[in-house]
């Protein structure tokens, strides 16, 4: 088979057919609706980005809350909570317990 000739024939076939330039009904209206709904200023774009990142932050907080609830054990609760209270009190009152020279 002569491939060069076949290529020429097929390219000629593609040239014969011009694609239609028909525009679907209501297309312009649809595009205009999309365009008018676009955020049109830098402030609007910034606000849009902030809302999206706020959503992501909420998801991250939920994930961490779930992990801490699931990994929580009562033994740890008593020990660590007691230690924390004592350490906190000691730190807060450290200044008062210091003996200053008179």
């Amino acid at each position: 088979m002569n491939l060069v000739e076949l290529e020429k024939k097929l390219i000629a076939a593609a040239r014969v057919e011009n694609p239609s330039d028909e525009v679907p009904f209501g297309f312009t209206t649809r595009v205009m609706a999309r365009i008018t709904s676009l955020p049109n200023s830098a402030a609007a774009l910034w606000a849009d980005a902030l809302w999206k990142s706020a959503g992501a932050c909420i998801v991250i907080v939920c994930v961490f809350c779930t992990i801490s609830v699931l990994t929580f054990t009562p033994a740890e609760k008593e020990g660590s909570a007691g230690n924390l209270a004592q350490e906190f009190e000691k730190t807060m009152l450290a200044g008062l317990e210091t003996d200053y020279p008179r």
């Binding site: 088979m1 060069v4 390219i11 040239r15 365009i35 008018t36």
Partner: protein
């Protein structure tokens, strides 16, 4: 009185989005004809054209006005079509063993009497469509612009944003890719 394109563009840039509508109405047929060269399904074609207009609206401030708006828009359209082809590369799989009867008949006619195989035949159009669908995105774009739309290398360079040497290299590779596909088709059918 009808406003000129420059006036419409200036109005859009001042914030009057409604002035964009006459531009969409005027140039959509041209953009649709371009998109139909690269996509088959009407839903995909509409998506491409919509994308072109959204990009045109968002990037209108980059239109300097030293060339016609149509040229700027067509560059945007060709690049959007190329992005579409790159995004749909995985859908290129098709076998030449699945040729329809009219396509096989046309090929048989071409083998026996090359002059008798008419390029106006519907089967020939289907065959070239099948081959174009299997080309890589750059090859398809180059073959369409260079061979089918008969554009010059310089024009293609402006439309695609590729350098002239790159267009030439890609045109060479595209032709080689096309011949390889034709050879595969001949092998699948006759060997």
């Amino acid at each position: 009185m009808e406003r000129t394109e420059a006036e419409l563009i200036a109005a859009v840039l001042r914030g009057d989005a409604a002035s964009f509508e006459p531009l969409i109405e005027k140039y959509s047929p041209r953009v649709f004809a371009t998109a139909r060269r690269y996509a088959r399904r009407e839903s995909e074609i509409e998506d491409i054209v919509q994308e072109v207009w959204l990009k045109a609206f968002q990037k209108l401030s980059s239109f300097r006005g030293d060339a016609p708006f149509e040229h700027w828009l067509m560059r945007l359209a060709v690049r959007t079509c190329y992005d579409f082809l790159r995004g749909h590369q995985r859908n290129r799989e098709s076998m030449f063993s699945e040729l329809t009867e009219p396509e096989e008949d046309w090929l048989d006619r071409f083998v026996t009497h090359p002059d008798g195989a008419n390029e106006h035949a519907e089967a020939a159009k289907l065959l070239i469509g099948r081959i174009m669908d299997q080309l890589s995105p750059p090859a398809r774009l180059i073959i369409t612009l260079l061979e089918i739309e008969d554009r010059s290398v310089k024009e293609i360079s402006k439309l695609t944003g590729w350098s002239i040497p790159l267009v030439k290299v890609r045109a060479f590779r595209a032709r080689a890719e096309m011949r390889k596909l034709l050879a595969k088709m001949a092998k699948d059918k006759y060997l």
